[in-house]
């Protein structure tokens, strides 16, 4: 393989890797020193070819291909910078209505306050705010770039709990093991292993009724597999409520479908089951550098193609 084709192959592979950094930014590989070294070696090969080509070592075609190599180097530089300077991947889980400061980005993430219906619909947003600047909305399935970081959301299991005591009085819900003390929204951060299967697990308290409730989330698929669940619709997610008194004695266990009231352990409970976003912050190549580099790379290739007469191109193609 000639140095021209080798340098071009290296450029294509490097660009593919950097584009992959943008598509799947949370991949750990992109933060390793081995990856940075591989990009640095690629850059060395490409610079070596481009300098030689500029000196005329690869003829008129080489001079034009050097432009393409320059574009590839811009792309590669963006990838290297994001891998080395960008933040490590961070998943930020917050209760609805709370704020997470993002000091590296000079912004704060606002997790929208939602009710049970919004949890069931799964359409809650995360907003990025910076004093003196407009908001950046991050709806589900959308990426937003800030410097060397890309931010996007992923849905996580959630259930909005309504709790009443035996007399029909609405109850305060508190979280026993979270700083988001006053949250009726369960995000199932923990896991319980049942019959070898890991299932999302969470706990809440109703201090007004002196009850502690352990909950396990069952997806619609898990619910459909359980033949003895007394719920009319098996195609909806369900939550298992295990109600304890404050001494830790289990009083009752029942399963409730999304939106359905269940009387259990002296409480009337309803879980509106759905999703709530968690925010993922990862490093990613700066889109401007990525796009500009790709344009220059492609323009250089097209320019080089015009430099090859049809016959010569055939000859070139056969080495």
């Amino acid at each position: 393989m000639s140095s021209r084709w080798f340098a071009l192959a290296v450029a294509f592979v490097a660009i593919a890797l950097v584009v992959a950094q943008d598509i799947i930014p949370t991949t750990a590989l992109f933060h390793t020193w081995q990856y940075a070294l591989a990009l640095a070696i690629a850059a060395f090969v490409m610079v070596g070819y481009a300098l030689g080509a500029q000196r005329g070592e690869d003829g008129p075609l080489g001079k034009r291909l050097a432009v393409a190599q320059l574009g590839a180097l811009v792309v590669l530089g963006a990838g290297l910078a994001s891998g080395l300077l960008g933040p490590d991947t961070d998943t930020i889980v917050r209760s609805p209505g709370t704020v997470a400061p993002l000091p590296d980005l000079g912004r704060a993430a606002f997790f929208s306050a939602v009710d049970g219906a919004a949890v069931a619909r799964g359409d809650a947003h995360v907003l990025l705010r910076k004093r003196g600047e407009g908001e950046i909305d991050i709806p589900a399935g959308t990426k937003r770039y800030v410097g060397n970081s890309v931010l996007f959301t992923e849905p996580t299991h959630a259930a909005f709990i309504d709790a009443y005591d035996g007399a029909g009085n609405h109850l305060t819900i508190t979280q026993p093991d979270s700083a988001a003390f006053l949250s009726p929204i369960l995000l199932f951060h923990n896991e319980a292993t049942i019959a070898g299967k890991k299932l999302p697990f969470d706990t809440f308290r109703t201090p007004g009724a002196k009850r502690v409730v352990r909950t396990i989330y069952f997806s619609a698929q898990d619910t459909a597999k359980m033949n003895h669940i007394a719920t009319p619709n098996k195609n909806v997610p369900t939550v298992l409520f295990a109600v304890d008194d404050e001494a830790g004695k289990t009083l009752d266990i029942k399963i409730g479908a999304s939106g359905e009231y269940v009387s259990v352990g002296g409480l009337r409970l309803r879980a509106s089951i759905g999703t709530y976003p968690q925010l993922i912050v990862a490093s990613a190549p700066a889109p401007i550098a990525l796009i500009a580099g790709l344009i220059v790379f492609l323009a250089g290739l097209v320019w080089a193609a015009f430099a090859i007469p049809p016959r010569a191109a055939l000859t070139e193609a056969h080495g």
């Binding site: 009085n169 700083a179 988001a180 009726p184 951060h189 289990t250």
Partner: protein
Amino acid sequence: MIALLLIVAFYPGGGPKRTAEGGGPAMLAGAPAVSYTLKRIDGQLDGLDRYRGSVVLMNIWATWCPPCDAEMPELEAFSKEIRAKGVVVIGVDQGESQGVTAAYARKHGVTFPILLDQEQAYGRSYSAVGLPTTIIVDRSGHIVKGIDGQLTLAQMREAVAPALRAQ
């Protein structure tokens, strides 16, 4: 299914602990005060933003909470004492029914407005890590201070003083 329920019944709870969210009300100083319009115990709609232009002491509480109960007489006394200086005291009950909260207010002679926050939106937005939580809001609608725990009358006076001094 029975086996599953038994496993759950004796499941000790846990797996990896959920990540602490950190913060608390103290970290809110300087931020704009979020407002939700809610029903009060007298049935009227109300919200924090209706008091823009006044210094507000907002007390996030619940009837079942012993420190809230202990704090309530001093909070009521403070609301009467400070009203003439343009400071508004409002209570925001977390998650409870109108009947329960209104009965509590009647029994304890509470005269300041109490909002019924059944979805606990104020508690979440103001990072309440316990009850009671007190939030001081200045005339421009920004949080001056967030305080976790029961306050004495002297501490309430001290808490609103900087906001009262500010023009």
